[in-house]
Amino acid sequence: MSAVYQSLYEFDLVEHRTIAMILAVLAMFLLIIFLLQSEQNKARLISNERLFRALIEKSSDAVALINDKAEILYSSPSTKKVMGYTAEQLLGKNGFSVVHSEDVSKVKEILGDLRSQFGKSKTFHVRAKRRDGVWIWVEGVVTNLLHDPIVRAIVVNYRDISKTKVAEQQLKKFTLELGSEKAKVEALLAGIGDGLVAVDNESRIIMVNEAFEKLLGWKRGDVMTRKTMEVINIVDEEGKEVPEAARPLNESMQTGKTVSGTHYLVRKNGSKFPATVTASPVVLNNKIIGAVKVFHDVSQEKQIDRAKSEFVSLASHQLRTPLTVVKWYTKYLVENASKVTRPKLKEYLGVILQTNNSMVELVNAILNASKIDLGKLAIEPEQTFLPAIMDQALNEYSPLIKQKKLRIEKQYSGDVPKIQLDPKLMKVVFANIISNAVKYTDLGGNVIVQMRKDKQNVVIAVSDNGCGIPHRQKDGIFTKLFRADNAIEKDSTGTGLGLYIVKSVIDQSGGKIWFTSPAKPLPNRLDVASETSIEELAHGKQYSGTTFYISLPVTGVQPRTGSKNLSVT
C-alpha cells in the first residue's frame, strides 16, 4: 500500500512542479505580451499625441481649453492667426473677455446646457474682438470633456468666419432684394401699358407681357418660342414691309446697341397702329444672348398731332382769304378816305363786316372740328324739343333766306317727343344742315324741313332743290375738308368742315345721318300738313336738289363728360 502511496505522492510532486512551471511560462508569456502591448500602446500614444498636437498647432482653427468658469487653460498657436493674441497672452484670461457683450449670454447658455452633458458638443456664432480691436465673426464648436481624465476641460474649437458671414449676409440681402426685385419687375411688366417682348438670339419669343397681348391681339401661348417675324409684322406708313435687317430687334442684336424708332406694327387681325419701338440687346458675358423690345402705341398722339397740324394749316390757309379782304378794303378806305362817297363807304364797310362774320364762323368750325378730333365731345343731355331747335336754326338764317327769296316749308308732326339730347350740339347740327340748304339753293328755291316720329326714332329730313351732290362725289361728303366741285363753284369760301362736324356729333349721339341727291323728302302723311310734293319741288328747276336725313333714337343719349363744348355761332 505504501508503495502505491509513495508512487502517488511522487506523481503528485512531479505534477505540481510541472504545473508551476507551465504557469510560470504562461505568466512570463503573458507578461511579455503585456509589456509588448503596453510598449506598442505607448508608442501609439506618443505618435497620436504628436499627430494631434501637430493638427492642433498647424490647424487654421484655433483651439482653446477652458474650465467651467471659461478661464483659458490652453490656447493653440493658431490663436495668433485668428485673434491676433499669442497663446501665452490669453492663458489664464477669461474667455468672455474677448466676446461681444451682446453674445456673452448666448455662450453662457450653451455652456450651461453642456455642463451636465459630458462628451456632447454644440456650435456657436459670436462676435469676438481681435487684439487690434477689430470685431470678427467667430464660429466654433464647444465640447464638454471635463469628465475625461486626460483632458479635464471644455474644448473650444473656433475660426474666423467674418468673410463668410459678410458674404452670407450679402447673399441673404441679395436674395431678398432679388426676390422683391423680381416681384417688382413682374408687377411692372404686367402693369405698364407698353408692350414688351423678349427674344433669344435666334429671335424666338421667350417672354411677352400683358400689354403685348392687348396691343397686338396675340395670346401668350400662341407666340411663345415662335420667331418674331412670324408673329409681328412691321410696316411703314404706306403699309410696306420693313425688311428683316432693319427691324429693331434684329438691328439691336446685330449692332449690340439700343435702337429706337417709330414704326407701324401689324396686329393679329391685320390692322396696324403706329408705335414707338425701342429694342435693346441682352448681353451676358460679352455675348448677345437675345433682345428685348418695348413698344408704345402712339395712335392717339399721332391723331392729335395730325389734328393739330391740320388745324394750323387750315386756319392759316382758310383765314388768309377773309383777312386779305379786310386788309385790302380797310387800306383802300384809309388811303381814299376823302374821295369815297357815302354809299361806297357803306358798301365797303358792309363787305368788311360780312367777311369778318364769315371769319368768326370759320374759326368756330375749325375749332369744333379740331375739338372733335382732339378728344371726346362733352354731351350734356336734357329734355330737348327738336322742332324748337330747328326753328332757332331757321331763324338764324332768315336774313339770307329772305335775301334769296327761298320758300321754307316746315312739316313737323305732332308726335315728336322731347328727347334727352344735348340741345347745343343739336343746334350746331341743324344750323349746318340749314346753312347748306340755303347756301346751295338758288334764288327763289324751296326748302322743306320735315320732322316726325318713326318707331323708336325721330327722323328729320331737310330737302332743297339746290345744286345737289354730284354722283361721283357722294362718298366723300362727310369727310373732313371735302367739298364737292359744284359747291366750290357756288361758294369758294366753304370750310369743308360742316358735314364732318355734323356727322361726328350725330354718330356720338347714337344717331344716323344720310342723304339722297336728287332730293327725296319723306312721304306725306295724313297727319302732316303738306303743300309741296316731290314733283313740285323739282319742277322747273335745273338742279335736282338734296335731302339730308337724320335719325335720332327717342331713348336719347347718355351724358358724357369732356371739356370740349362746341362753339355755336
Binding site: 386779305t324 379782304v325 385790302w328 378794303y329 387800306k331 383802300y332 363753284e489 369758294s492
Partner: protein, 128 residues
C-alpha cells in the same frame, strides 16, 4: 384821275368777288383797262382771246386752278411770254416752284400785299 398808261390791259382772274372788285377798282384808278374772270378756265380763254399785257391770277379757283391755267397759257405763242403774276394765299413750296418753273413773273401772297403796292409793281413791270 387816270394817268396815261397807254391803255394797258390787265386780266384779273380771282374767284373771291370782294377781292376782284377792289383789284379792279384800284387798277382802273391807276389808268389800266381791266378784264376779269372768276375761274381759271374762263380766264385762260379770255387771255388767249384778248391778249392782255399782264395776267394777275389766283391759284385755288373753280374749274381750273391758276397753276394749270399758267401752264396752258405757256403753250400759246402769245401766252408763252406774257407776264403772269400769281396772287394767292397758298404759300406751299410745291405751287411756288410750279409757278416759277412756268416762268411766272412773280408769286405774291395776298395777305402780304395790298392793291396799291401791287399796282405799283405792275406799273414797274410794264414800265408805265
Amino acid at each position: 384821275m387816270a394817268k396815261s398808261v397807254g391803255q394797258k390791259t390787265i386780266l384779273v382772274v380771282e374767284d373771291e368777288e370782294a377781292l376782284l372788285l377792289i383789284l379792279e377798282k384800284t387798277l382802273n384808278q391807276a389808268g389800266f383797262k381791266t378784264i376779269t374772270s372768276k375761274d381759271g378756265y374762263e380766264g385762260l380763254n379770255m387771255a388767249l382771246k384778248h391778249h392782255p399785257h399782264l395776267v394777275l391770277v389766283d391759284i385755288i379757283m373753280p374749274r381750273m386752278d391758276g397753276i394749270t391755267m399758267l401752264k396752258e397759257l405757256r403753250k400759246d405763242s402769245y401766252g408763252k411770254d406774257v407776264p403772269v403774276i400769281i396772287l394767292t394765299n397758298l404759300s406751299n413750296p410745291e405751287s411756288m416752284s410750279a409757278a416759277l418753273e412756268n416762268h411766272a413773273f412773280d408769286y405774291l401772297v395776298k395777305t402780304d400785299w395790298d392793291p396799291e403796292t401791287l399796282v405799283q409793281k405792275i406799273k414797274d413791270k410794264l414800265k408805265v
